[in-house]
């Protein structure tokens, strides 16, 4: 659509078109109460992710909760001073929980988007061009499949100072394979569809065909796997942090769990365990529930009957 008589109008229409498709596709939320609950949780999580650190009453690391006598409140159950209790060295669990949402959010968001985008691109190119491009890319995914994620990630993180962005990178580098495969097989079938042949017959270049005709039709799958990618990334980040390979300068939910586990206080300090544990569980489950509902929309074969 390079030359347009009224570009703005056209643009507006396009935007509306996209919005409509999205609206169409998201109507499932109204039907599926589970997915709706998931959306609420995700929204809350996004809110925490953006504003969590600002909402935290105290600095999660530097501030120490003290009793009236001024001595450190260690492993205190939830009280007025610390509504979620305190850690072994008197840190406010609530503040840690709030601040910990941010790295979780960042890794989830960017890990998910990176995974989805990279996988989508690889799947698209691989499926569309076929031949040796496909062969090479698919062998590459086979390779990432055969290298075990956790050990490889641990190895890398042993030598490089872990940071949230590095983790995101590693996660993307290992997880893109999932969407890539699915997108590719989807592309393979779309590629055979008549309208793609028809586009080529009307003289569209490969790039144009791929971007305008094939890509939009596999986009839902791409979205779906981006959503799953978010959940995977959050889970992966939490897992690595739990194993002690997370960014030590940042409080994340995974790291909080690591600290309770390591401190040997898991048996007593339930207030310290539950917020991060439930936080992670809730967000990953929600993302999956939404993804599943969305999957039913784009794959009518398995749609729930009313």
């Amino acid at each position: 659509m390079s030359t347009e008589t009224k570009p703005e109008a056209e643009l507006k229409k396009r935007v509306e078109g996209v919005a409509e498709t999205l609206r169409d596709q998201f109507t499932f939320l109204r039907r599926d109460r589970l997915a709706f609950a998931g959306v609420v949780i995700v929204a809350a999580f996004v809110f925490l992710g953006l504003l969590g650190p600002a909402l935290a009453p105290h600095d999660p690391i530097e501030h120490t909760v003290r009793d009236d006598a001024g001595s450190m409140l260690r492993l205190s159950e939830p009280t007025g001073a610390a509504p979620f209790g305190t850690t072994a060295y008197g840190k406010d669990v609530l503040s840690q929980f709030l601040a910990g949402a941010q790295p979780t959010f960042i890794v989830g968001l960017f890990g998910g988007i990176g995974t989805g985008a990279l996988g989508f691109l690889v799947g698209l190119v691989s499926g569309y061009y076929g031949g040796w491009v496909d062969e090479v890319l698919m062998r590459l995914t086979d390779l990432t499949f055969s290298l075990p994620f956790t050990p490889m990630a641990l190895l890398l993180l042993t030598f490089v100072t872990p940071s949230v962005w590095l983790m995101t990178g590693i996660i993307v580098a290992f997880l893109w394979k999932m969407p890539a495969r699915v997108v590719r097989s989807e592309v393979l079938s779309v590629r055979e569809r008549t309208f793609v042949k028809s586009a080529r017959a009307s003289g569209a270049s490969d790039l144009r065909t791929m971007l305008y005709h094939v890509a939009p039709n596999v986009l839902p799958i791409g979205f779906l796997y981006t959503a799953y990618g978010i959940a995977w990334a959050i889970a992966a980040q939490a897992s690595l942090a739990f194993l002690g390979f997370g960014d030590p300068t940042v409080t994340s939910w995974g790291r909080m769990l690591r600290q309770v586990f390591e401190s040997g206080n898991m048996r007593v300090a339930w207030w310290w365990v539950l917020p991060p544990a439930l936080g992670i569980a809730a967000i990953t489950t929600s993302v999956f529930l939404i993804g599943r509902a969305y999957e039913e929309v784009i794959n009518p074969e398995i749609q729930t009957e009313q």
Partner: protein, 606 residues
């Protein structure tokens, strides 16, 4: 993550002064290696931090690993508060422990201005001052912080060759005085060893410094314990597991300590850190480089073979030839070993070595020649069933889960009188343990549970104070605390111009509230040394006659003020400017960095 950029400061917070530099003085002083250190790559400084006249200080990187000790982050925060009080911004670098160590492997030096870690309570560190002091010398591989003090260098070199005890003690005391006065590092505290044990089933736990009653560096508790029930198997819960049964080539894991229960050294050390005979019963320096020892007679290997001087000679030669990893301190200074008789050996040393009798031969490990002589590749050998002469005989080992030894009845340590001599008040009498079993309980939570549930008798690792209290809340379980001779060493990187200013170092020492920290966070379960003295008062080498810079923020500030430092309106510390800058530059010159303002005849700039 190397620290602040160039000294222009100002940009992030704080307003710098316009540099006003007397002629002949550089406006900016860069991080620099002032001496040729074998261990440091001067072309590629790991840290880049420069000082500029009148500039607000860049944030000072503070490095630590929260894996090191659970409270290490709190400790870093304490140091941070100190710097904060002086108006210095800081940047906390929490590093994975292995990376903190990796800096030393790469021998590029520390990457942060301030870097803290605890020293392991290796028994030899309690016996001899060398392990902790010699790293402050020029050629030590462990000198990562580029510290060099000509006087200290001289004193330390001299003491390391002084085989005369009194002479050496004097020199060591002098070294402590110099180091403390110079603030060569911040030696903030010696954390206590806290653990919990079952006192209903066993009595006779022996408290050893740095080891407590239950850790594996010493064997006193195990040989002294007396059962209060019929069960004579003493079960110790641990969190780390042995990697192999090859003690001499252990890479310093749990096996390096636990397997010493099976072996004997030439000498041993008492809970008061005094050297007592073991396989060697006597002897000493014949001259500066020759040591002759008499060996205990009538000792048998666990398989019944007699122990002779041949074994000692063989051991040392094998270690040397195949570079034993865990026994380096023992064989390193030895040139050769001669067998003088069945129970007499002579060590020829490469040079005079003061620590040989006090440190190196103590808790060394002698292995049986008849078992090892046919081993092709000792470093990759994993004996089926290690044979030693020690107080305990190997029974069985399951990697990752348990290690079990049984009492060697004939061993002299089970002689009640002998023990009474060595252990003094702590000695008990009775039939003693039959077996010692280490069980890997993996995590502290389960360990406390197991101790309370009676599945284990003692916890073989350190607990935090509150964990120990929690464990001790059960009847029959008691918390045990002992002192420690391994300090928390907060290293200062001497390549950095700021650190090289002794006025700053003194101010820093004054700004850190170690006492408060020990009370508040560690609940007094730590010893705060007087002055920056790495030698603990638990050891006979300690001197209390050291300079102690009291916690005193105002004092610290006025020190800085007099040295020409100023503060901007927001309270950010600035480097000196004008003449004071020239004085600063003078103070940090190689020859001057151990001298204070007045020693150099500098004016008071306040």
């Amino acid at each position: 993550t190397g620290g602040g950029g160039n000294g222009s400061g100002g940009s992030d917070g704080g307003s710098s002064l316009t540099p006003d530099v007397p002629s002949g003085t550089p406006e900016t002083v860069e991080t620099k290696y002032w001496r040729e250190w074998e261990t440091i790559d001067a072309d590629e400084p790991p840290l880049d931090y420069s000082a500029t006249a009148g500039a607000v200080l860049d944030p000072v990187p503070l490095e630590f690993s929260s894996e090191d000790d659970p409270w290490m982050r709190e400790h870093a925060l304490m140091v941070q508060r100190g710097l904060d009080a002086l108006g210095i911004e800081t940047q906390l670098n929490d590093r994975p422990l292995n990376q903190l160590y990796a800096q030393s492997w790469d021998t590029k030096g520390l990457e942060a201005i301030i870097s803290m870690s605890t020293h392991g309570p290796d028994p030899q560190r309690g016996l001899d001052p060398n392990p902790l002091l010699m790293r402050r010398t020029e050629t030590s591989l462990s000198n990562y912080d580029n510290y060099y003090h000509p006087d200290l260098q001289e004193v330390l070199t001299e003491q390391s060759r002084a085989t005369d005890r009194t002479e050496r003690e004097e020199l060591v005391a002098e070294a402590q005085r110099i180091f403390s006065e110079d603030v060569g590092a911040l030696i903030t505290l010696f954390p206590d060893i806290i653990t919990a044990v079952n006192t209903e089933r066993w009595s006779g736990y022996v408290q050893t410094p740095g080891n407590g009653p239950t850790k594996d560096s010493f064997v006193w508790s195990e040989v002294n314990l007396q059962p209060q029930t019929d069960d004579r198997a003493y079960i110790k819960g641990v969190t780390t597991s042995m990697n192999s049964l090859n003690l001499p080539w252990a890479a310093g894991g749990a096996e390096a300590k636990r397997l010493t229960f099976i072996y004997d050294g030439l000498f041993d050390a008492t809970p008061d850190l005094e050297v007592v005979p073991a396989l060697a019963t006597g002897g000493g320096f014949v001259d500066d480089t020759t040591v002759e020892l008499t060996l205990r007679e009538g000792v048998e290997w666990h398989d019944g073979e007699p122990f002779t001087a041949e074994d000692v000679k063989f051991t040392v030669e094998l270690y040397k030839e195949h570079s034993s990893t865990s026994q380096t301190p023992f064989y390193e200074p030895v040139e050769s070993v001669e067998v003088l008789g069945d129970h007499e050996v002579r060590f020829n040393l490469k040079g005079p070595d003061a620590a040989f009798m006090t440190q190196r031969v103590v808790r060394s490990v002698i292995i049986p020649k008849h078992k090892w002589e046919d081993v092709e590749n000792p470093s990759q050998h994993n004996p089926e069933s290690p044979v030693g002469t020690g107080p305990f005989t190997y029974e069985n080992w399951e990697q990752g889960t348990r290690f079990e030894v049984s009492k060697n009845e004939d061993h002299w340590m089970f002689d009640d009188d002998w023990r009474a001599d060595v252990l003094g008040d702590q000695a008990t009498t009775g039939e003693g343990v039959e077996r010692v079993i280490w069980i890997n309980v993996g995590n502290i939570d389960s360990m406390i549970g197991s101790l309370q549930g009676g599945e284990i008798d003692a916890i073989g690792t350190t607990l935090s104070n509150s964990q120990a209290d929690r464990a001790a809340s059960t009847a029959g379980v008691e918390k045990m605390t002992s002192g420690n001779f391994a300090p928390l060493d907060t290293k200062l990187m001497f390549s950095c111009p700021l650190v090289r200013d002794k006025e700053f170092r003194v101010a820093l020492a004054k700004s850190v509230d170690t006492e408060g920290f020990a009370t508040d966070v560690l609940q007094d379960r730590a010893t705060v040394p007087s002055g920056e003295n790495p030698i603990s008062d638990l050891t006979p080498w300690h001197t209390s006659d050291t300079t102690h810079y009291e916690f005193d923020i105002d004092g610290a500030k006025s020190n800085l003020e007099r040295a020409g430092y100023t503060w901007d309106d927001d309270g950010n510390l600035r480097f000196p400017n004008g003449d004071a800058w020239a004085a600063f530059v003078e103070r940090i010159q190689p020859g001057n960095m151990h001298q204070r303002r007045d020693e150099l005849g500098q004016a008071d700039f306040s």
